[in-house]
Amino acid sequence: MNLSHQKPFIFFTLKETFRSASQTWATILTLVVMTAFPGTLLLLTSAIETTAERLLERAPSIVVRQVSTYGWKPMPVSAVQLLEEIPGALSVEPRVWGLCSSDFGAVTAMTNLSQTSPDSIPKPKAGEAIMGPGLPIPESQTIILHAEKTIPLSISRSLDNTFSTFLSACVLIHEDDARELFTLPIGTCSDISMTFFHDTEAVAAIPEIIAKLPFPVQVSTKQDTLKLYSGNLAKWGGLSMMLLIPSLLAMFFFLWTQRKMMKMEKRNIGILKMLGWTTIEITWSQILRSLLIGIPSCLIGCSLAYFMVYGPNMTWPARFFLGWSDTYPSFNLVPIWRILFELGGFIIVPYIASQLFPLFRSATTDPAKLLEGGGQ
């Protein structure tokens, strides 16, 4: 195809695209909003999925918690010795941690008891707190944590983003402070984490773990946590489908306006056919027009969605779409191509179809009938 021969055709198409500037800009704006809105949710869902996978990579294979008739119960650290006898267990560690409230909403207060945790994760002194990368530092340089008891702690430092999502909304505190905060006596822990070489070994070990311990326990595997995430993601996925309903309604709006413009379009198609334009030529021109409007609109909408999920201090999409009120980790970047294809399928394709609709109906009609306002 010689481009210089296509120039007149492209010239006409551009002229037609901006035939009515206000209508063109209104269409672009509508498409941008229709792309950005569900795009934000789709991107948010993907970002959470990816972030969750990253978080779970570092999670233990199994977490064992003592339960009673009224819920969780602190468990004796002596249970570690019993669990170390389980074949395949690479490490068995007691953990002291819990959820508490603070001026920044709910945070996870945890101690760094692990013998296997990287040296780079610092250990706070008693009376001090180390803030996760997702938490702000107040001017007072203190944080007050509320759980079973209330304790004020001075902030000694804040972790940077190299610690990433794992510690994002956590406050690292000394073991003594944690025991006071959650009223955990010495010799007890919140739970015990176990790491196995392979996740399937962890699942196989569950009956033995239950049998070994002389009190009732709940054993959660990494797979259980993944299922929990999957359930939530499915719910968010359903929500994103609901958000596509406005997009479909907008498509109907397009079809409706197209129907209203049918008479004028028929006249113009009739004139072009009278002047020797074939249906194929008119169709190409129309497709090119739709793409000229549709593709930039979709790209702008996707960029907006990307900004709303990953933009600095952009927390409202998660609050608005997912109802999150607490501090949450910064999301891992996900490729936008999948979102582009999904949105393209739902928005751009129906848009182009709605633009071609009057043309298909007029394709085999004689120009004289089109000019009379008749035709199929």
């Binding site: 210089s4 021969h5 120039k7 007149p8 055709f9 010239f11 006409f12 002229k15 035939r19 009515s20 006249r267 113009n268 009739g270 004139i271 072009l272 056919k273 009278m274 002047l275 020797g276 334009w277 074939t278 249906t279 194929i280 030529e281 394709a363 085999t364 004689d366 120009p367 004289a368 009938k369 000019l371």
Partner: protein, 223 residues
């Protein structure tokens, strides 16, 4: 040599099957002899013009153009064939959102050639029809006579083999009429076949049209 032959050509509207606008017309036209068809309002002149220009299909009969029955061709072939003809409808049918220049360029924009050459050609035609001062004006702002001249310019820009004109001089003063007749003379000189339908008495008196026909009760008769 371009020629058209009508064989038992008939047409009636779907809603009025008993009212035959064209009734078994048999007639031949050749490029050397421009034809003027007159007739009362509603006699079927425009319909005949539309059938000749492959814009409408007859109910029965044949419309042979250089031996080919164009009326039986598929839509795509008929659309393509119209690239080589010039049509001036009764109402000039301009695209209101385009300028005079762009409207005149329209039949060439889907054909091979550079944009610059198309603009040059359109400007030549515009000059011929005394529309130079109007070329960047939107079509909706033109007077009836100007719009008709733009329509005529658009019909001739393709250097057509056949020129079908429906009331080409209805809104023209003497000067406009002369411009159009000059152009028709030029088209005839290059072998273009010209068929016009008109009420205009001035055209009937012109020797340019060698055949002066009247369409009455669905039949074409020599005047």
């Amino acid at each position: 040599m371009n020629h058209i032959e009508l064989k038992s050509l008939s047409f009636h509207r779907e809603e009025h099957p008993n009212h035959k606008l064209l009734d078994q017309i048999d007639r031949s036209f050749s490029a050397q002899s421009p034809v003027l068809i007159s007739g009362e309002t509603g006699s079927g002149k425009t319909t005949l013009m539309q059938i000749l220009a492959a814009m409408r299909r007859p109910v029965s009969g044949e419309c042979l153009v250089n031996g080919e029955d164009v009326s039986r061709w598929s839509s795509g072939f008929r659309d393509d064939w119209r690239k080589s003809i010039g049509i001036l409808p009764q109402s000039p049918l301009l695209m209101d959102h385009l300028t005079v220049l762009e409207n005149i360029m329209l039949p060439l924009l889907n054909q091979k050639g550079s944009l610059a050459s198309i603009v040059d050609r359109a400007e030549q035609v515009i000059g011929h029809f005394n529309l130079k001062h109007r070329q960047h004006l939107h079509a909706k702002k033109l007077s009836g006579g100007e719009a008709q001249r733009v329509g005529f310019a658009r019909a001739t820009i393709v250097k057509p083999n056949f020129l079908f004109l429906d009331e080409p001089t209805a809104h023209q003063d003497r000067k406009g009429l002369d411009l159009i007749m000059d152009s028709l003379q030029e088209q005839k000189g290059v072998g273009c076949m010209i068929i016009a339908v008109s009420h205009d008495e001035r055209l009937k008196e012109m020797p340019f049209f060698e055949h002066n026909l009247e369409l009455t009760e669905g039949k074409l008769k020599e005047r």
